[in-house]
Structures are given as structure tokens and as C-alpha cells.
Amino acid sequence: MAYSNKVLDHYNHPRNVGSMDKSDPNVGTGMVGAPECGDVMKLQVKVNPATGIIEEAKFKTFGCGSAIASSSLATEWLHGKTVDEALAIKNTDIVNELSLPPVKIHCSVLAEDAIKAAIADYKKKTAQNADAVAAN
């Protein structure tokens, strides 16, 4: 299958591959998987608690070129965004940017799900910390 140049670029030079400390209270971790192809994607965001801005985003994806490119692009976009702006990223934005063919749209859905899962994890941690502070 022919990949677009943008997909190839992200595939050959993936941005922000790696992982951050899951137990860091400012780090949100999203882990998602695609049942059909067995792809699995881990995406993490590190949020500055004072500004609510995502200062770092990392990913590790096991899957096809489009899944890797989708998550690589997602981490690029997340950098510098607020948590709410991050939640506004839609899979269709990724499809358009990478010119993904219809059979690869599920890869972009996976990336969107991973962003949402990472942010949800961060929010859960923040809420728990707030509770802990309130309890003290």
C-alpha cells in the first residue's frame, strides 16, 4: 500500500518516542488497542499544573505505519496545547493531515482515543490529589 509522504516521514522519523514516569502526578498515561490488527498505543502527556499546558508528550506504538504516524503527529500537536485544546483534537484532523486512506482511518481513531485516555488519566490524578490535599 502506498503511504503518503507525511506518513512515511513520521514513520521513518517518529517524534517523541519514549515514555515518562507513570507515577508522576503531572503525567497522564493513555493506553489503547485496536482489536482487529492488534495494534497497541501508549501516549503520555506531562502537564504544567500551574498553566494547564502540555509541556511534553511521548508515545510508543506497536502497529502499522499509519498507527505510528498518527500517534507521532498527535504528540507533536499536543505540545504547547492546554488540556481542553488537546481534547478538541479530532481523528479527522489526523486523517486530513496525513492523507490517510479509508482503511487506515481506525489508526487515527486510535490516536484520538489515546489522547482522550491520557488526559482522562491526568484529570483523575489531579482530582485525587485535590481530594488528598483537602483531606489534610
Binding site: M31, V32, G33, A34, P35, G38, D113
Partner: protein, 179 residues
């Protein structure tokens, strides 16, 4: 065109007696064997041929519990549609991620991960067996009450089974490639 159960003269139930299925299949196969229609008009010969071939499809599909369930799900409009990421058992994700990390290391030539991969394979095979063990009970529930929720549950078990099977295949492929 009649369905597989009718073709074999069975009630359309997920719980099925394998011996009875085989008996009916043989009986009807004899009845519609193309040799018995060799001297008949073309139209009848063709009909016997079509029926024989459909009987074979029906038998092959119904004798396997997973294929049988998939057939009934499709008949009821619950085919394996596009699956969403939410369908992956969440408790499995960590394990799958770790598995992929180990597979990557193995591909990179690090054979020290072999025992970890063999343990993973055993664990996934156990999950596969556990998923399959739930089917008879769900089949009986569907036969008794014909509730959509039961079918959805069966769909879930089959999806999970397929997902785990893919993982097992992947591990086995890499283990034999690295052997």
C-alpha cells in the same frame, strides 16, 4: 434459500448435539448425492449439486461452536462489525504492551526475553480456554430466552477470543523465527 439449521433439519439453537448433527448430515448427503441424480434432467442434477454443496457448508459451519455462533450472530444482524478500541479488554492492554516490548527485543536479537514470551503464550492460551469455556453457558441462555443481550455477550466473547488468538499467533511466529 433456507438456512443451515433448516437444511439439516435441526432446530435453530446454539446448543447442538454433535452426533445428531453428523447423523443428519450423512443422511441428507446420501439423499442429495449427485450420483443419484446422474440420469435425471439437468435442472434436477443442478439442484442436487447445489444442495450437496450447501449441506457441506452447513455441516462445516455448525459443527464448530465458534463458527456456529458467528453464523447465528450474522443471521441475527450482529456480524463482526468494525471494532472500536474500547472493545479491547482493558486489563489486557498492559500485558499486550509488555508483550510487544519483549517481541521487539527478540526481533532485535535479544533472546533473553524467550522465557518471558513463553510465559506470555501460556497465559494467553489460558485466557483463550477461559473465553471458550463460557460459550456453552451463553449458548444455553440464548436458546432458552433469545435475548439480544446474550447475543451481544457472545459477540464480546468471540471478539476477545479472536484478539487473544492473534496475540498467540504473533508470539508463536516470532518464537519460531528466533529459534
Amino acid at each position: 434459500m433456507s438456512g443451515y439449521f433448516e437444511l439439516l433439519g435441526l432446530p435453530p439453537a446454539l446448543t447442538l448435539d454433535a452426533a445428531e448433527l453428523q447423523r443428519l448430515f450423512y443422511e441428507r448427503s446420501r439423499q442429495w448425492h449427485p450420483d443419484r441424480f446422474a440420469r435425471k434432467p439437468e435442472e434436477e442434477r443442478q439442484r442436487a449439486l447445489d444442495l450437496s454443496s450447501r449441506l457441506n457448508d452447513a455441516y462445516r459451519t455448525l459443527r464448530d461452536p465458534v463458527q456456529r455462533a458467528q453464523y447465528v450472530l450474522a443471521q441475527e444482524g450482529l456480524d463482526a462489525g468494525p471494532q472500536r478500541s474500547a472493545d479491547v479488554p482493558p486489563e489486557l492492554l498492559e500485558e499486550v504492551f509488555e508483550l510487544n516490548m519483549a517481541l521487539e527485543e527478540l526481533r532485535g536479537g535479544d533472546i533473553s526475553v524467550r522465557p518471558q514470551l513463553e510465559a506470555a503464550r501460556a497465559s494467553f492460551l489460558g485466557m483463550l480456554a477461559a473465553a471458550e469455556a463460557r460459550l456453552p453457558e451463553l449458548f444455553a441462555a440464548w436458546d432458552a430466552a433469545r435475548r439480544r443481550e446474550t447475543l451481544a455477550e457472545i459477540r464480546g466473547v468471540l471478539d476477545r477470543r479472536k484478539y487473544i488468538q492473534n496475540l498467540v499467533n504473533e508470539v508463536e511466529k516470532e518464537l519460531s523465527a528466533a529459534a
